[in-house]
């Protein structure tokens, strides 16, 4: 008898331990027993942004309890467990570029299943365009980000800011000496090089998921960009470029708005200007735009519709976007915010608004997943290994097509 009791208890302990192990492997997120008024949102945002969201969502208590959970590996985790209602979150806050991947996996619900489409007309057209995949809107936009042209006023005076890329090139030639640089950027990182490619009317990936690496325009962009690369340091990953600018070793850069508070804290009088116009095409350097917003997982849309709607409506309050602009320089996705003094007085936000006229939303089709690596290798070949641009572009195009084919 005692043996049986002990063996039963041991079995229970084993099961319990295994279950605990499985749960801990899933990040400790168990929604199986969660009530319909508890909403778990994953995000990967900095504290300033998360605090604004948290504060707003706390207003929903006690009707809806929102758990805002920071996940550093959000995208990969969603790929693995997004279809498991026990482990997946109800919603996630992230950039729009993974929408295609998750929509094809069947784990996302269109926002219009919960909020009528006509109510989304308050958002800027290009943010809604970014949120749309195969005709459905899968993201409620909150704010957007794009790269900006920044300069250190100690070295580059306001009237010296280059208006065209040839003026920029001349400035680089005149001011790159002794270990200082007239201009630096992450020249061999796809997200940064995309601005030059788009400005030449080239493309990394078209809307229908076709790579455009060997197009005449993309090759022309890579060839033209190379002469600028030759006046920059060879190693230009994120930390190097930001440090060069922050420490006063580079006069100007193209970087994200998140760099502004850092360099200001370092005592820099930083200026923000429009992107130089590419002399060859008449288009400005046209970087990608990332739209940050909230997405609803299908399971939550079906089983917690009321609570999900309350969360979405809370985040549709323009004050949230204004607070985010003030807290972290986020550019509001809602058109009406640009009539408010708190927003119009922010130099960085307004620079993003100006730049937004020419930016291209990051492709949100699943094929983009393979393009980052392929384009990164292409840029390394062209900019750092000195390989022939046309041959490298053709080889990269073939590699991209093969990888995309293997996805299907």
């Amino acid at each position: 008898m005692r043996k049986k009791v002990r063996s039963k208890l041991m079995s229970m302990a084993l099961v319990f331990t295994m279950a605990a192990g499985l749960l801990s492997g899933c990040g400790g997120n168990n929604v199986a027993e969660a009530d319909k008024n508890t909403i778990t949102i994953w995000h990967d945002k900095e504290d300033a942004v998360a605090e604004v969201l948290q504060k707003k969502l706390e207003e929903l208590e006690p009707d809806v309890h929102v758990v805002l959970e920071k996940k550093s590996d959000l995208t990969e985790s969603l790929k693995m467990i997004g279809s498991d209602p026990k482990a997946a979150p109800d919603m996630y806050f992230f950039a729009h570029d993974k929408i295609g991947v998750y929509a094809e996996m069947g784990i996302l619900a269109p926002i219009t299943d919960i909020i009528p489409k006509e109510e989304l007309n308050v958002y800027m057209d290009n943010t809604l365009e970014a949120a749309t995949y195969k005709g459905e809107i899968y993201q409620l936009p909150v704010y957007y980000e794009t790269l900006l042209f920044m300069y250190n006023r100690r070295y580059m005076k306001d009237d010296e800011v280059p208006k065209t890329t040839e003026e920029l090139y001349q400035y680089m030639q005149d001011n790159t000496a002794g270990g200082h640089y007239g201009f630096v950027e992450q020249h061999s990182t796809p997200y940064y090089a995309a601005g030059w490619i788009n400005g030449f009317d080239g493309t990394i990936l078209s809307d229908d998921g076709t790579p455009g690496l060997d197009s005449e325009e993309t090759i022309a962009a890579l060839k033209y960009h190379k002469k600028f690369v030759d006046l920059m340091p060879g190693e230009t990953e994120y930390a190097t470029v930001n440090t060069l600018f922050k420490e006063g070793m580079a006069h100007s850069t193209i970087a994200g708005p998140w760099l502004v508070p850092t360099v200001r804290a370092n005592g820099m009088d930083v200026g923000v200007a429009s992107m130089p116009v590419i002399d060859e095409t008449g288009n400005p350097i046209s970087p990608y735009m990332g739209v940050q917003g909230i997405h609803v997982l299908k399971n939550a849309a079906e089983n917690k519709k009321s609570a999900v709607e309350k969360v979405l409506r809370a985040l549709m309050d323009p004050e949230v976007e204004v607070d985010l602009a003030k807290a972290s320089g986020c550019a509001p996705a809602m058109e009406s915010c640009y009539e408010m003094d708190e927003v119009t007085s922010d130099e960085v936000v307004m620079a993003m608004r100006d730049t937004a006229e020419h930016v291209i939303p990051m492709p949100n089709v699943p094929e983009m997943d393979v393009m980052w690596t392929v384009v990164g290798n292409l840029l390394t070949d062209v900019n750092m290994s000195g390989k022939d641009v046309t041959e490298s572009a053709k080889a990269a195009q073939q590699e991209a097509l093969q990888l995309i084919e293997s996805m299907r």
């Binding site: 005692r2 009791v5 002990r6 208890l9 041991m10 229970m12 302990a13 319990f16 331990t17 605990a20 192990g21 801990s24 492997g25 100690r154 070295y155 005149d174 001011n175 000496a177 002794g178 270990g179 200082h180 630096v184 920059m232 340091p233 060879g234 190693e235 230009t236 990953e237 930390a239 190097t240 470029v241 440090t243 060069l244 420490e247 006063g248 070793m249 006069h251 005592g267 390394t380 750092m384 290994s385 000195g386």
Partner: protein
């Protein structure tokens, strides 16, 4: 009981708040940019007066004795001024390259002050204004260092701003530069300067116009006046080469080394994937790189597999045991490595890369949780068994 708990909780909360505030206060003081003006009138034979300043904790305002040279106040003859950090409340006035000096003068608060020096033993501090007109505004300055040919005597600096043409100095040949022990001459100019000329021999020899950034700069001038400049100290760049030793994974074909200096981004090799590692001793692959290198990547298969960025100390030979793209160990003495397996971790590694640490800690969490849960379950089992025993009795 609940009142007691509340009081204890409140006390703990207040204590935490107080502790949290202490370092912030110190930090705020240390990082303050506030300045105050120190005006000094010195005897006529005190040339090029300087101020040495510090605070009660011994923090110095300037790098080295005799401190910072003062500027003459052109509207108040005989008076010199300098801006010092507002926290500096002890000063010594000195001149003639530090050969004459006052005793320590203790200053009150963050107020501007006027010091009248009539001799080394006689200085009087007052906070009542002793000069006419406004105190010149504080302007940040930067140092210009020059190394000139031996035929160039008494080098001077001429500095101005382009395009407006504003000069720093009243007349050619400008300010005489001070000679340092290391053979360089130095002078400081305001940050609005972007053009300079180095000259010597009473202005009879000179460089061409040199466009510079407002940042500490080292200019080397040859006998013909040809100048080259660098924003890093050329003497510090003369670091001997180092040898990088690598143990690469066995499935990485033709391992190469990519090396550079962060944050300036100067590469050791012309193009990616760098240069091939060569056979060394004890199974190590080796490559010699410049001593200024502080960042490395080991790669293989023509650059298609690689480690993440590996930060290393400059000027030291280094041993890298690379297990795979994400796991490697760095040491500055040859570690013992079991070469019979792919690559083993070294016992005497002096630095563990962050990547390895992160992956170790993230792997450990589920294990720790499982151990805790298992321990709780065992305790429950023991309790249940004991209760059953008690019942049976």
């Amino acid at each position: 009981m609940s009142k007691v708990i509340k009081r204890v909780a409140t006390f703990c909360f207040m204590a935490v708040l107080l502790i949290a505030m202490i370092p912030q206060t110190i930090k705020a003081d240390e990082t303050s940019d506030a300045k105050k003006a120190v005006y000094v009138q010195v005897p006529k034979d005190w040339e090029a007066p300087c101020v040495w300043a510090w605070d009660d904790d011994g923090n110095n305002a300037f790098e080295a004795w005799p401190g910072e040279e003062m500027d003459a106040d052109t509207t108040n003859e005989g008076w010199y001024y300098i801006w010092v950090p507002a926290w500096a409340n002890h000063v010594i006035v000195n001149a003639n390259e530090g050969n004459v000096q006052t005793a320590e003068q203790v200053l009150e608060g963050e107020k501007d002050c006027w010091i009248t020096v009539t001799g080394a033993d006689n200085a009087n501090v007052t906070y009542d204004k002793q000069t006419k007109g406004k105190t010149p505004e504080y302007v940040e300055k930067f140092a210009i260092h020059a190394k000139v040919d031996d035929s160039w005597k008494n080098p001077c600096l001429w500095a101005w701003s382009v395009p407006d043409g504003t000069n720093v100095f009243d007349k050619w040949p400008g300010m005489e530069m001070k000679q340092n022990d290391n053979g360089w001459y130095t002078a400081k100019v305001p940050v609005w300067v972007n053009s300079i000329i180095i000259n010597a021999n009473d202005g009879s020899v000179q460089t061409e116009d040199i466009s510079i950034d407002a940042a500490e700069v080292w200019v080397t001038v040859d006998a013909d006046g040809k100048a080259e400049f660098s924003y890093t100290d050329p003497d510090k760049q003369e670091v001997p080469n180092i040898t990088v030793h690598v143990m690469a994974p066995s499935d990485w074909d033709s391992p190469c080394l990519w090396a550079w200096s962060a944050p300036d981004g100067t590469n050791a090799f012309g193009s990616w994937p760098g240069e091939a590692l060569e056979e060394g001793e004890n199974g190590w692959l080796v490559k010699e790189v410049p001593g200024w290198v502080n960042s490395l990547i080991v790669n293989g298969n023509e650059g298609s597999v690689q480690t993440s960025d590996i930060s290393v100390d400059t000027g030291k030979d280094v041993w890298l045991a690379v297990k795979d793209a994400e796991n490697f160990e760095v040491s500055y003495e040859e570690p013992r490595v079991d070469t019979t397996e792919d690559v083993q971790a070294t016992e005497d590694a002096t630095e563990a890369p962050e990547v390895t640490e992160k992956s170790d800690s993230s792997n450990a969490m589920p294990i720790i949780l499982m151990i805790v849960v298992a321990a709780v379950v065992i305790v429950v089992i023991v309790v249940v068994i004991k209760k059953k025993k008690a019942k049976n009795k």
